[in-house]
């Protein structure tokens, strides 16, 4: 360097985003807490699926939980249930919820600003770093969940939530898509995490914002709320993968979930960006302002939920909570037909097809006095079918527990040889009875067609 260039007055340039991103990654990787989380993501699902698949009591409350001992693929699908309820919001708390707050904790904002010389670049570098870390952890979870189950009980076919058989290849594809489908809502919660982290600094409330939001939304989701509102909440996007297991797939909820999640991601990120770039970094005592945050952080998200509810209601014409008798009867008879064919196969009886059975279901909720609509554990259904060549009709009774989110559990109530016992006697020994208890899915967004 010559003296001339040294003395030439010029301003410092902000550092390139690429360098800022790398710096953030270095810091993230150096956090022992994040390393522990990565290790947990790599091991916990594998250990859980491997161990639980071999137990006699299975987590039947979770979709596919009851099938964990029948196929390794069920383990990964069971893990997905836990992901949406708490694990992924918690994960985003640990990563995105902390990425800004960490600098507050360490008192390093001014150090970083002097080095980078641009709050905007810092914001995007941190956002991208949090995104990277989150996706890596999510990939670790997905991989681990598959490996554990498949190694433990092997890759076998499983019925979808409409009872139709999915081959191992189809399951592998479905599971890959299912894990991909939780990426958008994970991003939405990450963005909420960024928002909390930016707005509330060191306070634990900022760190736990995604978990807090998830818990609130889950509480709302347990209620029989209108379908349009349900679909407008990003937490519901964690469930839409279930529609991938049916034939045809229930894609409306999936696409709406993706759109809603991306809208939340965009809005929450924008709000975080605005709060961050307007922040006064000369004040080291900054610890956020909870009441202001409620106004500039949470109110817009609530508004987004309201607007998207309206848009979804208008676009789909969905009214009510979506659990209707006709849809339930059709879902149940479809599942029954598929699973009856499976049972016939297991028993080594003459082959029948679903079409030949002409199965129908008649459902009633809570007896005479209760309206036959909406979620509840008091649905009782009778499935009727005929075998080719037979003159008499077959009848089977099911008790249904229908959840507000459209998932139902059918519990066979007899006759014993059809659905009343958990095993069937096959030529090669006892096998699980597919008609005894099974999970199904009502498409909340489908239009209820008239009687059959």
């Amino acid at each position: 360097m010559t003296a001339l260039t040294l003395d030439e007055p010029r301003r410092t340039e902000p550092v390139a985003l690429r360098r800022g991103y790398r710096f953030e990654m270095v810091k993230l990787v150096s956090q022992w807490r994040l390393r522990v989380v990565l290790l947990a993501c790599l091991l916990a699902p594998a250990i859980y699926t491997a161990v639980v698949s071999r137990q006699t009591t299975l987590p039947a409350d979770a979709v596919y939980g009851r099938l964990m001992n029948q196929s390794g693929w069920a383990g990964s699908l069971t893990i997905l249930v836990f992901m949406g309820t708490l694990a992924l919001p918690l994960l985003t708390s640990v990563v995105a919820g902390d990425i800004f707050a960490a600098e507050d904790r360490l008192g390093t904002w001014r150090h970083l600003l002097i080095a980078v010389r641009s709050p905007r670049r810092i914001f995007w570098a941190k956002t991208l770093a949090a995104l990277t870390a989150t996706l890596v952890l999510l990939a670790a979870l997905a991989l681990s969940s598959v490996v554990g189950g498949v190694l433990s009980v092997g890759a076998h076919p499983l019925p979808g939530l409409d009872g139709h058989q999915l081959s191992s290849a189809a399951l592998a594809r479905t599971i890959a898509l299912a894990w991909l489908s939780v990426v958008p809502p994970t991003l939405a919660f990450s963005a909420v995490g960024l928002l909390g982290s930016v707005a509330l600094g060191r306070s634990p409330l900022g760190l736990l914002m995604p978990v807090a939001v998830a818990l609130v939304l889950e509480g709302v989701q347990l209620l029989p709320i209108p379908v349009a509102l349900r679909m407008a909440l990003p937490i519901n996007a964690f469930l839409s993968y279930r529609g991938l297991t049916t034939e045809p797939a229930q894609l409306s909820a999936l696409w709406i979930g993706i759109a809603v999640s991306l809208a939340w991601t965009a809005l929450a990120t924008f709000l975080a960006y605005r709060i961050f770039t307007r922040r006064d970094f000369t004040n080291i005592a900054f610890d956020g302002n909870a009441s202001r945050f409620a106004l500039v952080g949470l109110a817009p998200l609530v508004a987004l939920a309201v607007v998207s509810t309206g848009v979804i209601a208008a676009a789909t014409g969905a009214v009510g909570n979506g659990v209707e008798r006709v849809k339930l009867e059709s879902a149940l008879s479809t599942s029954f037909s598929h699973l009856y064919v499976l049972q016939t196969e297991r028993l080594g009886r003459p082959v029948v097809t679903e079409g030949e059975l002409h199965a129908t279901a008649a459902c009633d909720k809570g007896g005479e006095r209760v309206e036959d609509a909406g979620p509840g554990a008091d649905w009782r259904c009778v499935v009727t079918w005929t075998l080719p060549g037979a003159t008499a009709e077959g009848n089977a009774i099911y008790q249904l527990d229908v959840l507000p989110d459209g998932r139902f559990t059918a519990d066979g109530d007899g006759p014993k040889e059809v659905n009343g016992f958990f095993q069937v006697r096959t030529p090669t020994g006892d096998a699980p009875n597919p008609l005894w208890q099974f999970d199904g899915l009502v498409d909340l967004l489908a239009e209820a067609k008239g009687q059959e």
């Binding site: 040294l6 003395d7 007055p9 010029r10 301003r11 410092t12 902000p14 550092v15 390139a16 360098r19 800022g20 790398r22 710096f23 270095v26 810091k27 150096s30 956090q31 022992w32 360490l106 008192g107 390093t108 904002w109 001014r110 150090h111 970083l112 600003l113 002097i114 080095a115 980078v116 010389r117 641009s118 709050p119 006064d280 970094f281 000369t282 080291i284």
Partner: protein, 316 residues
């Protein structure tokens, strides 16, 4: 003048809510100088250094750094480095990683030898590969200095760099800063202790509640001290007290309660010349002088007098 000046500031004012942190501050620091910023807690040192680093902008006044007028927040002249309040570092990284990641963040490709050399200069060579989590305050301070030196700065801003340093550390830091100034760079550092800076700085600026109360060479500051308190021990305390009381230009200060066994001492306040007179009279009266010296060193006294801190000191 301004072409040679590293910092040229006129009537800088910075207000936080109803606190006037800086008021009409002028500051001129020629290139190659080590300039000290002294003042009691809350005087505005950190605020001023923050302005120089571009962390905030003044509400009023003009500021030119290395020939570049200050603009938006964070937009400063190339070659300005340093820290305010306390240097930042990441506890999960080692000392070396903190420096290498910072260097690559700024796009400065530095040979690892450079960074080793830097760590040695600030006395962290031995712990270069330890994580900063276990570092003491002084070690973090040293690391902060090394980080500030990474980009070969032309203006180095250090807020209380001696904070937490042991005497050896202080000497090392002084050496590093002197070397840097010798190579033509400018250093501005703050302290709330005069004696930290006296030996190191070419010039000092004294701040008190946001205002400049003195700016100039240290030697000139010493002359500003004016009246000092002197502690006097003689062979005849009673006679000495009588003579001192007669000397109208001197004030007798009620000294601290004396511990048993302490020599009976007298504390008198006055200018140097008046003290000379007193000594002559005492000797004339046959009292031998056993001890005589300022209670507070002149620099410190000037500091206390100028920043108004001495009033509180004495009324306590």
């Amino acid at each position: 003048m301004s072409a040679r000046a590293a910092v040229h500031a006129r009537s800088l004012t910075k207000i936080f809510g109803d606190v006037i942190a800086l008021e009409d501050v002028d500051l001129d620091v020629p290139a190659g100088q080590i300039h000290g910023l002294v003042g009691p807690n809350g005087a505005g040192k950190t605020t001023l250094l923050g302005l120089l680093l571009g962390l905030s902008v003044a509400d009023k006044g003009t500021l030119e750094i290395l020939g570049v007028p200050s603009g938006d927040v964070l937009s400063v002249a190339h070659g300005v480095a340093g820290f305010v309040d306390s240097p930042g570092s990441y506890p999960g990284l080692t000392a070396r990683q903190n420096l290498t990641s910072l260097a690559s963040l700024r796009g400065e490709v530095r040979a690892s030898g450079d960074i080793d050399d830097l760590l040695d200069r600030v006395g962290l060579g031995e712990v270069a590969d330890d994580t900063v989590r276990g570092f003491s305050l002084g070690m973090r301070q040293r690391l902060g200095l090394a980080a500030a030196l990474l980009g070969k700065p032309r203006l180095l801003i250090l807020d209380e760099p001696a904070n937490g340093l042991d005497p050896v550390g202080k000497r090392q830091v002084h050496q590093v800063l002197t070397d840097l100034a010798d190579s033509g760079a400018t250093v501005i550092l703050s302290s709330h202790r005069m004696d930290d800076l006296a030996a190191l700085c070419d010039e000092v600026t004294l701040l008190a509640t946001g205002r400049v109360v003195f700016s100039g060479p240290v030697s000139k500051l010493e002359a500003e001290s004016g009246e000092l308190d002197y502690r006097l021990v003689t062979s005849d305390p009673a006679e000495a007290r009588r003579i001192a009381e007669e000397e109208t230009s001197l004030t007798l200060v009620a000294g601290r309660k004396q511990a048993a066994g302490d020599k009976p001492a007298l504390v008198v306040r006055g200018h140097e010349a008046e003290i000379d007179d007193l000594v002559r009279r005492l000797v004339g009266a046959g009292a031998a002088i056993r001890e005589l010296g300022p209670v507070v060193p002149p620099l410190e006294a000037a500091f206390l007098a100028l920043t108004g801190a001495d009033d509180q000191e004495l009324t306590r």
